[in-house]
């Protein structure tokens, strides 16, 4: 018995139960939504530090309870929340405070279209992939505004580097994703995953997988592409001036973006939720995504970083041209009919 507006206490309880058990609520708040995201992002921060420590023969987080200090993210979070927010002298206060929030907002919004399972998707948009790209293309301008608002030299330089790097690698990324769209014939991410039930797109579109992976590494400012936050030169890049909760919000946004991009690789190339049936679909999805994330973290422990103009030049000359050539290749591939065995 659900009545709106409720009048008696029983009706209030019934309404609350109805809301909590509804599919919409579960998808938004619990599983692909808020709680799951926060937990995975916290896990990722811990996982990255632990993995890097293993690679470099260190120990990593150790003391904060649980096996291997797994509660470290919570300790960090509590510490950062209770620290004071410092706003630099003459900084643009509204923009300085608003941009981190926008960053997290636009890092979290695209998760609405990522299908974690056949029915585990918040908003099954027909233009899902383009929505995702539109959201990620907002990051450069937000970073630039934030860097400008800090009114300090290091963030400004870091922000500019970050801007040009992301701008340089965004186009190869989109164009390499185009061949997946051509193969699947849809922009709907659920449909793209369903088209991979017979063969994962990493096989017919291997070249675009390589380009896409390199491009998102640069887009996420991971090593060896993490020039915007090159510590010896620029301290912490565009978020040098942020502290306390502002820093935490930015950090959250960045790791959310890492998770977003890894899950995008899973959706586009690694067959999304498909896998042997003994595990439920979302579990397969998360396993694949974490494997992709591992491969994005490993280079950080191994490689040095490049120089900024070399980096940008590589992005525009090599990667873009490979991506464009790949489009021709896909046209040939589809029209030659080689792939018809898999129903493409």
């Amino acid at each position: 018995m659900v009545v709106f507006p409720p009048t008696t206490p029983q009706e209030v309880i019934a309404l609350i139960l109805y809301i909590i058990t509804s599919h919409t609520f579960i998808t938004i708040i619990i599983f692909p939504g808020f709680i799951h995201l926060t937990l995975v992002v916290m896990f990722l921060t811990w996982y990255e530090r632990k993995l890097l420590a293993r690679i470099q023969l260190r120990i990593g987080p150790l003391y904060a309870g649980g096996p291997g200090g797994i509660l470290q993210p919570i300790a960090d979070g509590v510490k950062l929340i209770f620290k004071e927010i410092m706003i630099p002298y003459k900084a643009d206060k509204p923009l300085f405070l608003a941009m981190p929030l926008m960053l997290v907002l636009f890092a979290a919004l695209p998760f609405a279209v990522i299908p974690f399972g056949q029915h585990w998707v918040i908003a099954n948009l027909d233009v899902g992939l383009v929505f995702l790209f539109a959201m990620t293309s907002l990051f450069p301008s937000m970073i630039l505004i934030f860097a400008w608002a800090s009114n300090s030299k290091f963030p400004f330089l870091g922000g500019l580097r970050s801007l040009f790097q992301q701008v340089a690698y965004e186009i190869p990324m989109w164009v390499s994703a185009l061949s997946v769209v051509m193969l699947a014939g849809s922009l709907n991410l659920t449909a793209i995953v369903e088209a991979q039930s017979k063969i994962w797109f990493i096989v017919p579109a291997f070249l675009s997988f390589i380009v896409f992976f390199i491009a998102i590494m640069a887009e996420l400012e991971r090593l060896p592409f993490d020039l915007p936050e090159a510590e010896p030169e620029l301290v912490a890049g565009w978020f040098t001036e942020s502290s306390g909760a502002v820093f935490m919000v930015i950090f959250l946004g960045l790791y959310m973006k890492v998770y977003l991009m890894s899950s995008l690789v899973t959706v586009l190339f690694l067959g999304g939720w498909w896998g042997p049936a003994f595990l439920p679909q979302p579990v397969w999805f998360i396993i694949k995504t974490l494997i992709v994330a591992t491969f994005m973290i490993i280079p950080r422990g191994v490689y040095p970083r490049l120089r900024v103009d070399m980096l940008i030049k590589t992005g525009w000359t090599r990667l873009l041209i490979i991506a464009l050539a790949n489009v021709f290749l896909t046209i040939l591939l589809i029209h030659s009919g080689i792939l018809s065995a898999w129903g493409i």
Binding site: F34, A112, F164, I171, V175, L178, V181, M182, S186
Partner: protein, 104 residues
Amino acid sequence: MLLTGPMLTLPIFWSRRKPDPFRDMPFESGQVPQGEARHRLVMQYYPYLLMFVVFDVVAMFLFAWGISFTTMPLDSSFLVILFLILLAAPLGYALHLAVHKENW
């Protein structure tokens, strides 16, 4: 969409703050900051930005065409190939200008 609601409201109660002007100096490795922070930018990477604007549009066009690629006849791909070839020449020229730093 509602996912972000809590994220926007949570930091609101974090943002209480005691005013302390000495701590608010921009970080410059411990030195007192000098000069204007938002100084003029170099033009060096401007051509890349222009290329981004142009190829952003191109990518969106390619997506619109790519969705229905398999259902369209072959000659529509000739159109897109022509479109890309027409853009190849200015791309080459822009890259040529961009990598020569003495131009900027």
